[in-house]
């Protein structure tokens, strides 16, 4: 079953006076529980594509179906609600809330989603990513790898069907990168989460079920 279906999406924006075609008619289908890596040179449209699937951006034209729903038709509030309940984001620069502890970072989306068991669940998620002993540490007190694990735990907070990761290992050393990808694989296998991961690393990309290559705003293969 296709969980993500993208039909002819195009994204054009102005860079000063220059018109830039970031996406040039993308068609893609991703099945439920698939672990897909998105690769390609810088500026090829990988992150733009991920942002569109993640409903962070709106395409100039085309349709994006998530679990059968055309999300391009949703308004801002509906998109925010969908992101909260069904999507999890992992960014290259960790992007944690610096004023919240690891536990609070994970709890916040659950509180927004009014999960009654958020206290217990947030602790379990941090234990799952191997940070059971770092619950009350602020992001500034954690290493890059540990911060990225908190980001993953936060992305899993509301048990989303889709995890979107934009170069999650881009700022990590080889050991931490390997641990993170193994965690992704574990989540994918045990929870059946669909994972879309942008990466520059051929080695990391090879750990996914499938690789989609981007070039010049189009899917190359």
């Amino acid at each position: 079953m296709e969980l993500i279906e993208v039909k002819d999406i195009r994204k054009t924006y102005m860079l000063g006076k220059v018109k830039v075609n970031a996406l040039n008619g993308i068609y893609a289908s991703i099945k439920k529980s698939e672990f897909v890596a998105i690769m390609g040179p810088s500026g090829s449209g990988k992150t733009t594509f991920l942002n569109h699937v993640g409903m962070l951006d709106v395409p100039t034209s085309g349709e994006i179906f998530l679990d059968g729903k055309d999300v391009t038709k949703m308004n801002g509030d509906e998109r925010a609600e969908y992101r909260l309940k069904h999507l999890g984001f992992i960014f290259q620069f960790f992007n944690l809330f610096n004023e919240l502890t690891a536990l609070e970072n994970v709890r916040f989306p659950m509180m927004l989603n009014k999960q009654p068991d958020y206290k217990e669940r947030s602790r379990k998620l941090l234990e799952l990513v191997g940070l059971g002993d770092r619950l009350n540490h602020l992001p500034s007190e954690l290493s890059g790898g540990q911060q990225q694990r908190v980001t993953i735990a936060r992305a899993l907070a509301n048990n989303p069907g889709i995890l979107l990761a934009d170069e999650p290992t881009g700022n990590l050393d080889t050991k931490s990168s390997k641990e993170i990808i193994e965690l992704f694989r574990k989540l994918n296998l045990e929870n059946g989460q669909t994972i879309l991961m942008v990466t520059h690393s051929q080695e990391i990309g090879a750990m996914a079920d499938r690789i989609i290559y981007f070039r010049d705003g189009m899917i190359e293969k």
């Binding site: 962070l56 925010a80 809330f97 610096n98 004023e99 919240l100 916040f108 927004l112 936060r154």
Partner: protein, 385 residues
């Protein structure tokens, strides 16, 4: 809601130093409003009280236009006695003359009254600076204002020559010197009503009748009633009597209001700018908030709640400062050489009023930064643009 409040609280805790400036600004503005208005109201009330204590009843009956005296005083007094709600009244006579002591002579205003009746309406006879007050049957003694005493270099116990406007001259003994903090202090001689009537050659007449009623808030009702019963038209309520003063105080109130508005505007700008700068430095955080599922309105709410929390803390601190500041000025009033002590007056309404005004100012200040935060583009924010 609880999640948004949770984040707002955490953000404040993590940015204590920045937010201390906001709290300080709000506290000072709040305290300033309380103290300034407390002082202003205290002075107004003080003046009104003094006016009521010495120169006015709840209702004052004056002679008809073009008349100098109210005629048929006896009948009018009988009628007043029969009106339910009229507690007491005191007729007064006003005249002019001159007072001489040794080789100094000064023009004076004569205020003649019946001490027994007057003491039940005003406190003027108790405002004795030195000497003693006037007894009800004392027709040979007078009270003079302290300024007049200074000019004549006379004191209580001295004998002075009083020349009435009709030309009669008589010696009186100064029983006491009065100080009221009012116009009366200038050049007034207070004397017995009957004695003045005799010297002025009038009978059964008064220049005004001061009336005290059961409930001063019903002055307008009794004004009409007394006007009808006594068949007089020139009656003023206590509010009308102090109107001239109050209208002049309105100018001061406008000045106070202007100072308040400038202070509030400055605080609003300061709070708004600090919040805006803070939000501008947190674009990435806002981007993450939106990415994980906060709606624009929820992002707005986070910063709105922050401002309200800061506002509440600022108001609490400002109220404490304002309370003690006003209480201090109440206990240590300004001393005016003419009117005497003029102190602040604390009332709970000062706290309520200032809190409402300040919280509205905070709301106004946060609107633009919070709307700005809500409208930040997610992609640009995440990349810190």
């Amino acid at each position: 809601m609880s999640a948004l409040l949770f984040y707002a609280k955490k953000d404040i805790e993590a940015n204590k130093k920045t937010f201390l400036f906001i709290i300080l600004a709000i506290s000072l503005v709040n305290a300033n409003i309380i103290i300034l208005n407390g002082t202003m109201d205290g002075m107004v009330n003080e003046f009104v009280d003094r006016t009521m204590e010495s120169t006015s009843g709840h209702l004052n009956v004056y002679p008809e236009v073009n008349d100098r005296y109210i005629e048929g005083l006896g009948i009018k007094e009988q009628k007043l006695n029969k009106i339910d709600g009229v507690v007491v009244f005191s007729p007064r006579l006003a005249a002019s003359g001159s007072l001489s002591y040794k080789d100094i002579s000064k023009p004076i205003k004569i205020m003649a009254l019946d001490p027994l009746k007057e003491n039940r309406v005003t406190l003027i006879l108790s405002k004795i600076d030195s000497g003693e007050t006037l007894n009800s049957d004392d027709r040979t003694g007078i009270l003079i204002s302290y300024k007049l005493a200074d000019e004549l270099k006379a004191k209580a116990g001295d004998d002075v020559n009083l020349l009435f406007e009709k030309g009669t001259l008589k010696v009186y003994r100064i029983r006491g010197i009065i100080r009221t903090g009012m116009e009366v202090d200038k050049n007034t001689v207070i004397m017995n009503f009957e004695e003045a009537s005799e010297q002025l050659g009038i009978n059964n007449m008064a220049s005004m009748i001061l009336i005290k009623i059961k409930d001063k808030t019903m002055a307008d009702y009794y004004k009409d009633k007394i006007s009808m019963e006594l068949e007089v038209s020139n009656i003023k309520t206590w509010k009308q009597e102090i109107e001239a003063f109050v209208s002049s105080m309105d100018t001061f109130k406008e000045i106070t209001a202007t100072i308040n508005i400038i202070g509030l505007f400055a605080a609003a700008v300061l709070v708004g700018v600090i919040l805006y700068i803070n939000i501008n430095h947190k674009k990435r955080q806002i981007g993450i908030m939106k990415a994980i599922g906060l709606k624009d309105s929820q992002v707005f709410s986070v910063y709105f709640f922050e401002a309200i929390l800061l506002g509440v803390i600022g108001i609490l601190i400002g109220s404490i400062i304002g309370y003690f500041g006003t209480k201090y000025l109440e206990a240590h009033p300004f001393i005016d050489p003419v009117t005497g002590p003029m102190g602040a007056r604390f009332g709970m309404y000062l706290l309520y009023d200032s809190s409402i005004v300040v919280i509205l100012t905070v709301i106004l200040a946060v609107m633009y930064p919070a709307i700005f935060a809500g409208r930040i583009n997610i992609i640009k924010a995440i990349w810190g643009e």
